[in-house]
Amino acid sequence: AQSVTQLDSQVPVFEEAPVELRCNYSSSVSVYLFWYVQYPNQGLQLLLKYLSGSTLVKGINGFEAEFNKSQTSFHLRKPSVHISDTAEYFCAVTGAGNQFYFGTGTSLTVIP
C-alpha cells in the first residue's frame, strides 16, 4: 500500500522569501511522485512530476522538487515566492497500479 504525508497544513511566508513544502511517502514498490497546485476557486494543476531519471525535478512557476529515496521524501521548494503563489499544494504518489494517493494538502499563504 502507498500513502502520502504532508507535514505542514499551513505555511505562511513573506513575499520574496524561500519556501519548502514537505512531502513524505510510504511505498513498497517503485513510485512516481507528483505535486499539484490548486489556486483559489480553480481546479488542480500539475506543478511537476518525478517518474525516473534525475532526482531534481523542475516544474512551472519556478518550483522544483527533489526525490530522496533514502528519506522517502519529495519536498517542494521555491527560492523566492510571489503573492500569486498563494494556493493549496498537494503531493501525490502512485506506483505501477492505477490509484493515486494524495496528501491532505498544504495551504501556502504569501504575505506582502
Partner: protein, 116 residues
C-alpha cells in the same frame, strides 16, 4: 482543446435524495478518475475507468455510490440516498496513460455537493 468539464458546478440536495454528477474528459483521454475532497482534507480516490476494461471501484465508500462511463467519453457518478457526510467537492480527472507508466492527470473544476 477544452479541458475536463464537470456539471453541475454546485448542487444542493436534501438528505435521502439521489444525485447524479457528470464529467466530460479531455477528448482522447482513455483514463478517467473520480475523487472526493472533503473540507480541509486531501483527495480521496473513488473509482477509475480505463478504456473498456472493468473499472477499479475499490475506492467507493459504500454501495450508495456508483459510476458509469460509456466508452471513452462521459462519465456519471451517482450517489443514492444522500447523507450529510456525502457533502464534499467531487473531482474528475482524465489522463492518457501508457501501460505501466503513470501519466499526468488533468482535473476538472469539481462539483460542490451540499447535502442538507
Amino acid at each position: 482543446g477544452a479541458g475536463v468539464s464537470q456539471s453541475p458546478s454546485n448542487k444542493v440536495t436534501e438528505k435521502g435524495k439521489d444525485v447524479e454528477l457528470r464529467c466530460d474528459p479531455i477528448s482522447g483521454h482513455t483514463a478517467l478518475y473520480w475523487y472526493r475532497q472533503r473540507l480541509g482534507q486531501g483527495l480521496e480516490f473513488l473509482i477509475y475507468f480505463q478504456g473498456n476494461s472493468a473499472p477499479d471501484k475499490s475506492g467507493l465508500p459504500s454501495d450508495r455510490f456508483s459510476a458509469e462511463r460509456t466508452g471513452e467519453s462521459v462519465s456519471t457518478l451517482t450517489i443514492q440516498r444522500t447523507q450529510q457526510e456525502d457533502s464534499a467537492v467531487y473531482l474528475c480527472a482524465s489522463s492518457r496513460p501508457t501501460p505501466g507508466l503513470s501519466e499526468t492527470q488533468y482535473f476538472g473544476p469539481g462539483t460542490r455537493l451540499l447535502v442538507l
